[in-house]
């Protein structure tokens, strides 16, 4: 029972990060009907920026802020310099271009930093606190929850309460009409990319220290897990992404706790396959599977 509690809390902490990352995927999907397959690589790039800044200044927090800024900028640059130029008539094209970005980013990081694992710092201890003899959450887990909670609340506030959020939603739902109403649609799309990439960078900063460390490929499996989370929730649904992220986090925590960490990749694949075959629109959408 103790173990179950520990695994549950650990899974929720892991899931919070997946939720944030899935949320970032959903943001771009809603804004531009693109699944940003480069998001993992972009997040890793931001984490490397943090690594450099922290190494130069000795401050984790300066690095943290630098990662967020780098994430925001990278998202905007990717949209303006690459995605906007791609012919979107075929949905394959943006996917292929995003994969080109993955290769490019991995390569540049490998050239600059090398393809070895670098140690990633945490601002708080990862040793679990014990309450009444039970190991529960570590201070770092609490930090993860707080950060993801704040970011989630900020996103909700931006999208539902601010004029810029209204513009972004309108631009996503009805670009032509929005332009007629004076909304700078391409600007909103760029902003969406920047926001999503910033959230992705944040998720990367949170998850990388809990894995093997900083590496160009550090986010590969995280991306797949978060994509699975986004699909579980339905690519169109931000609340779905959060629920999906937490669910995937729990599942993976139980799998690694009860069956062994080696099985995590297989579990992700099995879950993704199951969801795609049973409910391709996600758990929050009506079934629209094509029959084979």
């Amino acid at each position: 029972m103790d173990r179950f509690l520990f695994l549950t809390l650990d899974g929720l902490s892991r899931g919070a990060v997946y939720a944030a990352f899935a949320l970032a995927l959903v943001l771009i999907w809603r804004a531009g009907r693109i699944v940003n397959f480069a998001q993992g690589a972009m997040a890793v790039a931001a984490a490397y920026v943090a690594y450099s800044v922290t190494a130069a200044t000795g401050s984790y927090w300066l690095g943290f802020v630098a990662a967020l800024v780098a994430g925001l900028l990278l998202g905007a640059v990717v949209d303006v310099a690459v995605m906007r130029l791609v012919d979107h008539r075929s949905p394959l094209n943006p996917v292929i271009v995003a994969l080109g970005l993955v290769l490019l980013i991995h390569a540049v990081l490998g050239m600059v930093y090398g393809n070895e694992y670098l140690p990633a710092q945490t601002p708080f201890s990862r040793t679990a606190l014990t309450v009444g003899g039970l190991a529960v959450l570590s201070p770092y887990d609490l930090f993860v929850f707080a950060t993801v909670g704040v970011v989630g609340a900020a996103l909700v506030w931006i999208f539902t309460r601010t004029a810029i959020g209204l513009r972004m939603r309108a631009a996503a739902f009805a670009p032509e009409v929005s332009r007629l109403l004076g909304v700078n649609v391409s600007g909103m799309l760029t902003l969406g990319w920047a926001l999503a990439s910033g959230v992705g960078a944040l998720a990367g900063m949170l998850v990388i220290p809990t894995e093997l460390g900083l590496h160009p490929h550090a986010m590969d499996l995280v991306f797949v897990s978060a994509f699975t989370a986004a699909v579980v929730g339905g690519l169109d649904s931000p609340p779905g992404a959060v629920v999906g992220g937490l669910g995937v986090g729990l599942l993976l925590s139980y799998v690694s706790g009860y069956a062994g960490g080696d099985l995590i990749p297989l579990a992700v694949l099995a879950l993704l396959l199951a969801v795609l075959l049973l409910r391709p629109g996600g758990l929050f959408a009506p079934v629209t599977a094509r029959r084979v």
């Binding site: 690459v82 791609v86 094209n93 996917v95 490998g110 297989l266 694949l269 396959l273 795609l276 391709p280």
Partner: protein, 367 residues
């Protein structure tokens, strides 16, 4: 939803358009081309040194995979980011089979054929599973699933390291060249012959498939699923067939690579390989088997080229190693982005366009 219309413009190549007054059956024509190609490779193999023979053999092995992916993505409009994993399936099957034979003391060269066939069958089985799932999916969902396959399958070698020996990988014992060729016959030349034979067989089969009613069904599904269905084509079944065929080719390619390297390890079949394969067919030109040739050449030539390039500069060994390992990736990624934005037809598309405009100019001059 037709997935590749823009990526692979449905331009009719000469091979696709019905030729009037054709007398030679398609199969014979393809066999003749393959025979000529085989003779050319045979002749070349005597001119090249061992390393170049090995490289050419590697191109041929990759060609199986890129041709298979071209059929799937270019002709049938389905994206797969998982072909590296399918190659791994073929490679590991060959390794397991060859090891099993070796353990039982069977060392005859002929068992390799059996191992290769088993590898293709195993990959076809895996491809069928993924393909059935893939046939129900579109666009980003399909890409995501195959991406997961690409990331997860290499990791399985660590999960089940009792069978696959983890990161270390497996050795692939292969029989030496037949004694009849002489004691001093370079082994790489023999490898090239074997791989070329297998690749040509694979290409002839693919080329025939492309020209058959299945090929027409592939293109119909790619261009407009609804129209294809109205025309009586079973869309999902067609897509599964394309995936299975493509998987089989990739499996053969992986098996041949394993045979060439005489070892397999998960590192060689990671996500990067899957992305490389996709890049290769996109840059080569989707929708044409000829594009797959360019792609395969690129896969082998680019790392070689960057090696030569980095040798030009005097770098510290560490920096040189970083650059060498990553420069091909950077060039591939960058080229891919530029190609997708500027020339979605790829190298073969550019060549066709060039040839087309030359032909027009030629005609103008004559008239």
């Amino acid at each position: 939803m037709s997935a590749t219309r823009a990526a692979a413009p449905a331009r009719r190549t000469a091979a696709e358009s019905p030729r009037t007054g054709r007398t030679v059956p398609t199969l014979l024509r393809h066999l003749a081309v393959a025979a000529v190609a085989g003779v050319v490779v045979l002749a070349i193999s005597y001119q090249l040194d061992s390393f170049r023979n090995f490289q050419l053999a590697t191109v041929a092995a990759y060609l199986c995979a890129t041709a298979g992916l071209t059929v799937l993505t270019g002709l049938c409009g389905q994206l797969s980011l998982g072909h590296g994993a399918l190659m791994a399936t073929g490679a590991y099957t060959v390794a397991l089979c060859q090891n099993a034979f070796a353990d039982r003391g069977v060392t005859a060269g002929g068992v390799l054929v059996l191992s290769l066939a088993t590898a293709v069958l195993a990959t076809v089985a895996v491809g069928a599973v993924v393909g059935v799932a893939a046939a129900r999916l579109r666009g980003p969902y399909l890409a995501g699933l195959t991406l997961a396959v690409a990331v997860v399958v290499p990791a399985l070698t660590v999960t089940f390291d009792g069978v696959f020996n983890g990161e270390q990988g497996l050795a692939v014992p292969v029989a030496p060249a037949p004694a009849a060729l002489g004691f001093y016959f370079p082994y790489e030349r023999w490898q090239l012959w074997v791989v070329t034979a297998a690749t040509l067989l694979c290409l002839v089969l693919l080329a025939n498939l492309v020209r058959s009613r299945y090929g027409r069904a592939f293109r119909a599904v790619r261009d407009d699923e609804v129209a294809a269905r109205l025309a009586g084509i079973h869309v999902a079944r067609t897509q599964v067939i394309a995936f299975v065929v493509s998987a089989g080719s990739a499996g053969l390619g992986g098996a041949l690579l394993a045979m060439l390297a005489q070892s397999v390890s998960p590192g060689a079949f990671g996500l990067t390989l899957s992305l490389f394969l996709l890049m290769a067919v996109v840059i080569g030109g989707l929708g044409r088997l000829a594009g797959a040739v360019w792609g395969a050449v690129l896969l082998v030539a680019l790392p070689d080229l960057t090696h030569t390039l980095t040798d030009l500069f005097t770098l510290s060994p560490a920096a040189a190693q970083r650059l060498e390992g990553n420069l091909p990736l950077a060039i591939f990624g960058g080229t891919l982005i530029v190609v997708m934005i500027a020339a979605p037809g790829g190298v073969q598309g550019l060549l066709s366009r060039l040839a087309g405009s030359l032909r027009v100019r030629w005609r103008r001059r004559r008239s």
